[in-house]
């Protein structure tokens, strides 16, 4: 049934919360879990639940996503009539480019031309394994025009400050979207997933453009809430909302928790990504690896603890790596020490160098 649904991957620009990590790429292209990009999770979840036509609104930093998605082959999206559509912004309207309503408007032809009856919109910066088949059944069973997905969180005082809150009434009907300012621990995190009838989607886009009142689709939904039957679906699984370096670091480290790891990787379908054909990882005689996730293609001669190693990382003899994330191709030479640090792609830490970040506030190199 989800074959009748268009998948839309679209994000809100959350600025420069990531420093050097996002200088040349959008947040959804951040490497994650040793071999993935954030966007792989949303894309794979859509595919695993039978969505065959997927549109990616890239935002202005296009090159990295073009390179990653490429021909769509790893996701079997290199199809003739369906498959992957990539929509970069129109350059002529740089001012309005970050506003999703405008992006949808300029690609109206794509939506109108498709035979699909429904549209499912998701934000690739939020990782989860929401059972989209279940959401879709709920949407159909309740006869909703729009179903939004949320997760009840109980750490709203410490985390998720400024994240979108879904306000619903007792029957689960949509009331509004607010912002969590941390006043209460328990709140409903709006997961930026919207399932909507295509005709309603198009009506809202047109109304949004015509009135000029809305620049974000979620705003428009809230504004027109009385015109449509909007309900909500509660997701009970694990959610990672990547909003800055800290949440990015924590989301990676959370994978060392077996339950979270299993939920994200082993349940509810495979996460697909581009393979780089590395061989297995080699552990040398003197390697000591503990409680770590290690991607393929690494050569480990030193000590690694509580860390995530991406592909092709090399750890030299007697080197020590702790509580760190090492991106693809990072090299730690002999006797170097790396603690509480995020190391960028292909960075080399020379012999004997120590890099030590503060616990809970990782240093980024």
């Amino acid at each position: 049934m989800l074959e009748e649904c268009l998948g839309v991957i679209s994000f809100e620009d959350i600025g420069n919360e990531f420093g050097v990590l996002c200088r040349n790429k959008p947040v959804y292209m951040l490497p994650f879990a040793g071999r993935y990009r954030l966007v792989d999770f949303t894309l794979s979840n859509m595919i695993n639940h039978g969505l065959h036509t997927i549109a990616v609104f890239t935002g202005s930093k296009i090159r990295s996503i073009l390179n990653h998605l490429g021909d769509g082959k790893p996701w079997d999206l290199n199809r003739k009539t369906r498959g992957l559509s990539i929509f970069p912004p129109l350059f002529d309207d740089v001012k309005r480019r970050s506003c999703d309503i405008y992006q949808y408007h300029t690609t109206e032809e794509f939506f109108v031309g498709s035979k699909a009856k429904y549209v499912f919109i998701a934000n690739p910066n939020i990782l989860s394994k929401v059972n989209l088949t279940e959401v879709f059944e709920y949407f159909l069973d309740t006869g909703a025009d729009i179903t939004v997905v949320y997760k009840k969180q109980n750490n709203g005082k410490d985390e998720y400050i400024n994240a979108d809150t879904l306000i619903i009434d007792d029957s689960g009907r949509f009331v509004n979207i607010g912002i969590n300012l941390g006043s209460k621990p328990v709140f409903n995190l709006f997961m930026h997933m919207i399932l909507i009838k295509k005709e309603v989607f198009l009506e809202i886009i047109r109304a949004g453009m015509e009135t000029g009142e809305n620049i974000y689709f979620k705003q428009a939904v809230a504004n027109y809430k009385n015109m449509y039957n909007i309900n909500s679906y509660e997701f009970k699984g694990h959610v990672e909302y990547i909003r800055g370096i800290k949440s990015y670091y924590n989301a990676n480290m959370n994978l060392l928790n077996k339950e979270i790891f299993n939920e994200l990787f082993l349940e509810g379908g495979t996460v697909l990504t581009r393979s780089e054909d590395e061989p297995s990882t080699f552990y040398d005689t003197k390697s000591r690896v503990r409680n770590s996730l290690i991607a393929n293609g690494c050569i480990i001669e030193g000590r690694v603890e509580n860390s995530i190693l991406f592909r092709e990382v090399k750890i030299g003899k007697d080197a020590e790596v702790k509580n760190s994330i090492l991106m693809q191709g990072a090299v730690i030479k002999e006797n170097a020490v790396l603690i509480n640090t995020i190391l960028e792609k292909y960075v080399t830490v020379e012999e004997g160098i120590n890099i030590i970040g503060i616990e809970g506030n990782p240093y980024t190199v």
């Binding site: 990787f265 054909d277 061989p279 990882t281 552990y283 503990r290 996730l293 991607a295 050569i299 995530i308």
Partner: protein, 386 residues
């Protein structure tokens, strides 16, 4: 296209490999797993890709399901092309009768039309049974420089083992003067690797001639090449330097896996300029537990290692539980070694669950034990021997 690649590779992948016993009970030998994430055929396929070969025909005949599923449309080796690319070539029927491939030369003979349709000038005959990395362009270049009719890739083998191989006796220019098939008293240690490059028009002539000979076994080594030499064709030996291993027996298979753990073996899988490609399984990274020990081993994606692994090759998705110890072993995909079990020199087949607290295979024993597929518990200390 104005320029078409005028080399067609023909990869003989029909072998049953019965000396690999349990490993080839259900699948063809080229489809046997190797080196943590590969299958044997991946090495030859990747060599072809990396050598810029544009057309490759894969000759299959024995239990091809798993091999076909592995190869798919060839996209892993970048052979999913619209023009050329990879084609699987099983036997077929002409008119009302059909012929199985009766020998290596016969397999090529039956596909003369395929090779002709690609407008081939040279045909590169490969076998899918060996572990090695070779740039076939070098072989072709040598063949062209020598203006040869046939060039055979050879490798120096230890003198004491030469009697096991097809030995080529050559003159000072490496021109072949004699074939010596498994000689009792070898006069040379230059062994044929089963890799040949032919000028297609000449090969076609001899394939047709050989086909008419009722007493021929239609084999390159036994029939076609000796006939060509007798009839005065220019045949050269090209000498390959590098790692090469026929994995035809359980022992050589085990040894070739162990060679991967030796930095000096000459087979470097980490060379980015000569990747060995294989079908990806989309697994997450491996997890190494809080109390685990991993030494001198290759571990692949999707593994969970909570026990101890030494001198071993562990394939994707395998699990070694806490307290389990794996020494000098090869663990296939999704096998589980339960708590407290000790394995020595074992080959554990796919999906096998090895029950807890067993000691399987004797330590310091030279035998290699195979632990069977299926979620059956292994009670006896040793399983099948090679």
């Amino acid at each position: 296209m104005i320029k078409s690649n005028n080399v067609v590779a023909m990869l003989l992948a029909g072998g049953q490999g019965s000396r690999l016993k349990l490993l080839t009970q259900e699948i063809a030998k080229p489809a046997v797993c190797f080196g943590g994430k590969y299958r044997i055929i991946d090495f030859t396929l990747s060599n072809a890709t990396n050598s810029g070969i544009g057309n490759i025909g894969i000759l299959t005949q024995y239990k091809p399901f798993e091999l076909n599923a592995h190869i798919g449309i060839g996209e892993c080796w970048d052979f999913d092309r619209i023009t050329g690319g990879l084609r699987i070539l099983p036997p077929f029927m002409r008119g009302t009768k059909g012929d199985w491939y009766t020998g290596t030369a016969n397999a090529i003979y039956q596909n003369i039309e395929y090779i002709d349709s690609l407008d081939a000038k040279y045909v590169l005959v490969l076998s899918a049974d060996h572990i090695y990395k070779m740039d076939y362009r070098k072989l072709l270049k040598y063949h062209m420089e020598k203006d040869a009719d046939v060039t055979i890739a050879t490798i120096e083998v230890p003198w004491r083992e030469a009697y096991k191989f097809g030995i080529l006796n050559v003159d000072s220019d490496n021109k072949i003067v004699e074939f010596d098939e498994k000689p009792k008293n070898p006069r040379n240690n230059m062994a044929s690797m089963g890799i040949y490059i032919f000028n297609w028009d000449i090969l076609k002539y001899y394939l047709k001639k050989d086909d008419k000979n009722r007493r021929s076994e239609h084999d390159f080594g036994k029939n076609v090449l000796p006939m060509m030499l007798n009839e005065g064709n220019k045949m050269y030996a090209w000498v390959f330097k590098g790692y090469w291993k026929d994995v035809g027996t359980i022992r050589s298979y085990w040894e070739a896996n162990m060679d991967l753990l030796d930095k000096n073996s000459g087979l470097n899988l980490y060379d980015k300029d000569w990747r060995i490609y294989t079908r990806t399984k989309h697994l997450p990274p491996q997890y190494i537990g809080k109390n685990s020990v991993v030494r001198d081993s290759l571990i692949n994606e999707g593994c969970t290692i909570e026990g101890e692994v030494n001198n071993s090759v562990v394939f994707s998705g395998a699990t070694v539980e806490e307290g389990a110890v794996v020494n000098g072993s090869i663990i296939f995909s999704n096998a589980v070694i339960k708590k407290g079990t000790v394995l020595n020199k074992a080959i554990v087949l796919e999906n096998t669950i090895v029950q807890p607290n067993k000691r399987i295979c004797k330590e310091y024993e030279d035998d290699i034990c195979l632990i069977e597929q299926g979620s059956v518990s292994i009670e006896q200390e040793e399983a099948l021997y090679a």
